[in-house]
Each structure stands twice: as C-alpha cells, then as structure tokens.
C-alpha cells in the first residue's frame, strides 16, 4: 500500500470510528442522561 493510500485509510478509519462512537452514545448508550452530544448544548447538563 502506498503512503498516500495508507494516510487516507488511517484518516477514514479514525473518522468512521469517531462517528460510530458518537452514534452509539447518541442512540444506544444511556450514559448521558440529557443530550448525547450532537449539538452539545444540553450535554452540559449531564456533565458534572
């Protein structure tokens, strides 16, 4: 794999991982009792 493709694959993997984690926290996890972070406004209520 060329360095070019390797960097792009790594960036894509990180981005997909971040979005997957965010989707999990938003839709499935009950960890945040208010907003799950999409807009960030109400998540302040949930954070101590």
């Amino acid at each position: 794999m060329s360095p070019d493709a390797l960097i792009v694959a790594a960036a894509l993997g990180l981005a997909a991982g971040f979005l997957g984690r965010l989707a999990w926290r938003t839709f499935a996890s009950r960890r945040n009792s208010g907003c799950a972070g999409g807009c960030g406004c109400a998540s302040k209520l949930a954070k101590k």
Partner: protein
C-alpha cells in the same frame, strides 16, 4: 477520612425575582450542575463562603409562586424542602428570595415556607429597582414582624451581598423560624384530621405543610406522590373540606385569604411609597400593544437579520481568504500524494471551511439575541406569541420552550418539563423541532450568500431569513392545534407570565454566552463536521476510474474546451461515478419533483444526523467536481453555474429561485437532527412519538418543498 458535609441552604423564590443572579453572586464560579436522581430536573448547587472560611452548599431550586405545585420541577421543590428525596436530608436553612417591587405577593411563598417548620431567612432582591420606583422598604421592621433575618439586596448591581451572607450566618447559628399564620379552629381541626389519616395510610410522618397541601390543593398530585391512595384519601378530604365550608370558608381560597390578610398587617409601615409607573410599563404600552406589538416584533427580527448579514460580511470574507490561503499553502507540498492532497484541500478544507465561514454570522446572531434577551424583550416576545397563537390550544407555558427552540430544539424540549399537563407537554415537545434552530442558519445563509444576496440584495436576504423562521412557526401552530384539540384533547390551563423589567444588558454575560455558542460551533466543526467531511470525501472520491476521466477529458477537448475546462470535466465525471454519485443518482428521483439534482440529494441525505452537514457536503462535491484547489468563493460560483446534464431540464440552471426556496423550506421543516430525535424519545418515554415526529416532519418537508418548487416554477415560466 472524608470531610464533614457542608451545611446545605436551599434558595427558593418566585420566578423572575433574580434568584439565580443572587445564587451566582453568592457562589461565583463554584457551581455544579447535575440531575436529581429519578427525576429529569437539573440540580444546580454551589459552594459559598459566608466569611471567615465558613463554607456552605447553596442549592438553587426552580422558581415557583406557591407550594401548591403541579409541574415536575415545582413538585421537586417540595420534595427537597421536606427531605423526601432519596439520599437528601431536608436543608439546614432556606433562603427565600423576594422581589422588592412586589413584596406582598412574594411573601406569600415565605408564609407557606414558614409552615414547613424549616429555619429560613429572607433576601429582598431588586432593591435598586424598588428605589427607582420610589418604594422604600424597612428591612429591620420586616425582620421583626416575620421573626427572621431580612437582607435588602440588588444581586444585579452587587449591592447588599454581604448583608445576605450575614443573614445566612445568623440563620445557621440561630435557626430562626418565620412566624406562622394562625389558622381558624375549623381549618386547624381539619388539618389535624387529614394529617392523622394520611400518616396511618402512608406509614410516614405528615408535616403540617404537607397536610395543608392535601387539604387546600385541588390537584391530588402531592397526595399521590406521597403514596396516599384515592380510596383512603377522598372520603377524608371531602369530610375535612366540608368542615371548612361549614365554618364559612372556601377550602381552595382559604389559604391565600388567611396568609394575605396576615401579610398585609405585617407589611404595614414596612413598604412605603406607592411606586411610580415604571419606564418598563411605559415602553410596554407600545411593545405589547395589540397591533403595534407584533409589528415591532417583526421589525426587530428584520433588523436583527439585516444586521447579522451586514456586520458579518467583512469577517466572512477574511475567513474565506484565510481558507483559500491555507489551501494554496498546503496543496503544493502534497503534490506527490494526490489522494491526500484531495482529502486535505477538497475534503477537509473545502468541507470544514465552507462550514466555518458562517462563524461570524452565528456570533453576531447570538450577540444580538443575547442583548434582546438580557434587555427583557424576549419575555415580551413570548407574550406576543401567546396572544397570537394561543388559539391553537398550546398551553401558555409552551411559548417559552418554543422560543428556546429558535436557538436549539434540545433545550426547548427539555424546558417543556415546566408544563404540568403531560398531554400539553407532549404537544409542545412535538412542536418545538419545527422552530428554526441555529443549525438551520448556515443552510439558509449558504443559499442567501450564493443566490438571494447577489441577485436581490441584503434586504431580501433578511426577508428570506425571517420568512424561513416563520415557516416553522406556521407549520407548528396547525400541528399543535390538531394534536391538542383532536388527538390529545388537552385542557386549557391558565398562564402567568411575569414580565421582567427592561434593563441595560450586561455585556459581560452576553459576551460569555456568545463565546459559548462560538466555541460550540468551532467544536462541532472540529469534531462531527471534520469526521463527516472525511467520510463524505471518501464516498465522493472512490472508486477512481481513470479511463472514464480520460474519456470525459477527450470529449470536452473535442467540444473545444481548454485544458482547465477539460480537467474540470474529468473531475466531474469522477464525482458522478463515485459511490456518493451513484447513491445520489439512485435516490434523486425521489427529490426530483422538488427540483433537487443528485448533489443536492446527497447533501440532504448526509444531513439527517445534523442538518448543517449539507454545507460541507456541497463544499466537497462541488470542490471535487472542479479543478483541485478551487477557492471557496467558487463554491457559490459553481453552484450558480451548475446545470442539469440530462432529462427535460438539460442545460437549464439547477439553482433557480424556486429550487433555492424549496431547499430552504425543506430544511426549515425536516427532522434532520439525531440528537433532537433521541431527546424527544427520552422525554416522551419511548420511540413512538419521536418516530412519529421524524416521519411527519420529513414527509411534510418533502411535500412543502415540492409545492414550493412546482408552484414557483409555474409562476416564473
């Protein structure tokens, strides 16, 4: 070894007494925000130094007019004061905050607190406003009459804070009880009877204040939450109320009559000066006028958006220039890695840059809205909205959540907790996402910057903005009407909205809130938008087909195109062949009646997690379809130049006025925010209403976009 817990002081008071301002002045930045266990009401507490290193914990409770509470946050106040919350003992002291300009009504709550038997002191806030109106308050005399420490304070001006600290110290040391009202014999006997039966039925001690709530309150909310079941409760309460009636008193009216009669005596000589008509009242005669009020409101909104566009123009141009400079700086150094070069310039800088360019508009919008809020005008806006849209059956309290929804639907939905009727709360939460939140702003702003502004000028940009904010309201109102009147059959409830006085906004507070919004916007650009741009770029970049690009290049040259145009044709062919292009072309027929081409379709689909994503998605798809390194301004140019390549509209511009308006209307109405849907599901206790809201809003958005496009096109042809 853990430290001994700090003494706890509960801060209670009527809404709009400046209770939270006083709480902030006493605690400074030492605050914690959390949730009460088992209930969805925010718990705000902070540490306060009363002097000499004597620390206490202050708990800021939701505002309420009376202990006859029905809404969840009002009920919570009683639970906290009675120590009925799991793991929380009753507070050591209560600080009752009263409004100096309306002392009699505010002291009613103090009289009810007295019945709880908790030590309490009083802070008479807004003393500066009272002084301005010619009202003089004799605090020591009031303290003597009520039997507790009374401090005069202006939390807003920071006057008298030391007196409040001294009163709290005295309260903790001497544990004074506010003098209780004397109940007529019939009521006292009825209360004893109620307390005794309730104690036997629930197996818990029933303090006199709770027995009063059982006897006087028409709603059985507190009795039910105390676990006193209706079969045991109703005959006892009926008999007790009959006993009160036989003594010539009306049970629901007896409590205020007795407290107010006593308080009028207590306040004699304490409050001097009748008070002049305030400047606020004079201004309100115009701003709350039945006809001129809404006209002024519309003029304020037009002026607000016009200012946003006019003031934000130069800084937006600086950001555009900065992004372009960054692109030309980075692109040459990545020439050996064309894939990474495209990812950075077209994907990240193209996508995130297209989004970040709206930062000045967001900052100026929040600055102006913050100034209006702090000046006291926004409460008037809720009043005007109530008068204009109250007929649709929404609870009066619904208009504050609806107004919050203009900033973000999530706090709007969360603030529906102040509505006591669960059906009215549901109807309001359903209507809130229709309000045009700030996330829609970049979408409207992109369309205004690319089309409406250049073609029609800044005034029409403002008109389009106000129009889009009205579109949400125009659909929310009939939706609420059907929900409240036909589906849920909500009973109308009385509405009390206290209008705060007009005041000069505190620039520091406003700037702090602007910074919070700006930081949130930047965080979003650096996280969600950044990650999504990488994914959208990859979907729009792969798979690469060099043979296809060559064919497009050759075809363009054969038509007489120069080298740059031939490269652009090759890039456009690659984007059309990408996964995103294929997906867009497959789904495009669904959005074809609304005039959306495949790129707009892709933008709409990518925006379902968060609606602003369309801006970065269009930034990427148009940047990839151009030569590498195209500047940001060319996004607007490329959109203006975009033409249909096939079908009956081939060769005509994609972005006509009907298409632009259809797209804006679609975004005004569509449910494109994952967090809002989840919050709605959590607040309504399941996915049924959230799913219904999503389906209804999305279908409505599609239908409205189709109608706008079809009617607009027919009118313009």
């Amino acid at each position: 070894m853990s430290a001994a817990p700090l003494p706890r002081i509960a801060v209670v008071g009527n809404p709009n007494t400046g209770k939270s301002t006083l709480f902030n002045a006493l605690t400074g930045l030492r605050q914690r925000v959390g949730n009460y266990p088992g209930v969805t009401v925010a718990r705000k507490s902070g540490t306060c130094d009363l002097g000499g290193g004597r620390l206490v914990e202050l708990i800021d409770l939701p505002g309420l007019y009376s202990l006859a509470a029905v809404s969840p946050d009002e009920r919570l106040v009683i639970d906290v004061l009675l120590g009925r919350l799991a793991g929380e003992a009753p507070p050591d002291l209560v600080l009752v905050v009263c409004d100096a300009t309306n002392l009699l009504r505010n002291c009613f709550l103090a009289a009810q607190i007295a019945e709880l038997g908790l030590p309490a002191v009083i802070a008479v806030n807004q003393s500066d406003v009272a002084r301005e109106r010619g009202i003089e308050i004799d605090a020591p005399l009031l303290g003597d009459r009520l039997g507790t420490a009374v401090a005069l304070v202006s939390a807003w001006k920071g006057e008298g804070i030391a007196d409040v600290r001294r009163a709290l110290l005295r309260g903790l040391d001497q544990r004074p009880l506010i003098r209780r009202s004397e109940w007529p014999a019939a009521i006292a006997a009825a209360l004893e009877e109620v307390a005794a039966v309730a104690r036997d039925a629930t197996g818990r001690d029933v303090p006199p204040a709770l027995a009063q709530r059982f006897l006087f309150d028409a709603a059985p909310t507190l009795a039910e939450s105390a676990g006193w079941a209706a079969p045991s409760r109703e005959p006892v309460l009926r008999a007790a109320r009959d006993r009160v009636r036989r003594a010539g008193l009306n049970p629901p009216a007896a409590e205020p009559l007795i407290h107010y009669a006593r308080l009028r005596r207590d306040l004699e000589g304490v409050v001097r000066g009748a008070g002049r008509e305030s400047r606020s009242a004079a201004v309100d005669r115009l701003l709350l006028h039945r006809f001129l009020g809404p006209v002024c409101f519309a003029a304020f909104m037009l002026g607000l958006f016009w200012s946003v566009f006019a003031l934000a123009k130069p800084p937006m141009e600086w950001i555009l220039a900065g992004v372009d400079a960054l692109k030309s700086l980075v692109a040459p150094s990545l020439e050996t890695m064309p894939m990474v070069q495209s990812l950075v310039t077209d994907g990240i800088l193209g996508g995130v840059g297209a989004f970040l360019v709206f930062l000045p508009q967001i900052a100026i919008l929040f600055l102006l809205v913050g100034l209006l809020e702090d000046s006291g005008y926004m409460a008037r806006a809720a009043f005007i909205m109530d008068r204009m849209f109250g007929w649709c059956g929404l609870n009066g309290k619904s208009f504050v959540p609806l107004l919050s929804g203009f900033a973000c639907a999530i706090p709007g939905i969360l603030s529906t907790r102040t509505i006591e009727d669960p059906k009215a709360r549901l109807a309001t939460a359903f209507a809130v996402p229709f309000m045009s939140c700030s996330a829609r702003f970049p979408v409207y702003a992109l369309m205004c910057a690319a089309f409406i502004g250049p073609q029609h000028g800044a005034l029409w940009e403002s008109v389009a903005m106000v129009g889009m904010h009205l579109v949400g309201l125009l659909f929310a109102v009939p939706t609420a009407f059907i929900l409240t009147r036909v589906v849920l059959r909500v009973r109308p409830a009385p509405f009390v909205l206290e209008l705060p006085r007009y005041q000069l906004p505190k620039l520091k507070d406003v700037l702090w809130r602007v910074w919070q919004s700006v930081w949130e916007f930047i965080q979003k650009a650096g996280t969600i938008i950044f990650a999504l741009t990488i994914v959208v770029w990859a979907l729009s970049y792969f798979p690469r087909d060099e043979a296809l690009a060559d064919r497009a290049r050759v075809a363009a040259v054969a038509k007489g195109a120069d080298a740059d145009a031939a490269e652009a044709a090759a890039a456009a062919a690659q984007v059309e062949n990408s996964w995103m292009g294929r997906m867009g072309k497959t789904i495009q027929p669904v959005f074809d009646p609304a005039g959306f081409d495949w790129k707009l379709t892709v933008g709409v689909l990518a925006s379902f997690p968060a609606r602003e994503v369309i801006v970065s998605t269009l930034g990427i798809t148009y940047a990839l379809g151009e030569e590498t390194g195209a500047d940001s301004e060319s996004l607007y140019g490329a959109m203006r130049e975009a033409r249909w390549t096939e079908g009956p509209r081939a060769g005509t511009p994609i972005f006509t006025l009907p298409t632009v308006l259809a797209l804006m209307v679609f975004f005004a109405l569509c449910s494109q925010c994952g967090s809002t849907v989840v919050t709605l599901a959590r607040e309504t206790g399941g996915w049924k209403w959230a799913g219904l809201s999503f389906g209804y809003m999305t279908a409505l958005a599609w239908l409205a976009a189709v109608v706008v496009y079809q009617v607009g096109t027919a009118l313009m042809s």
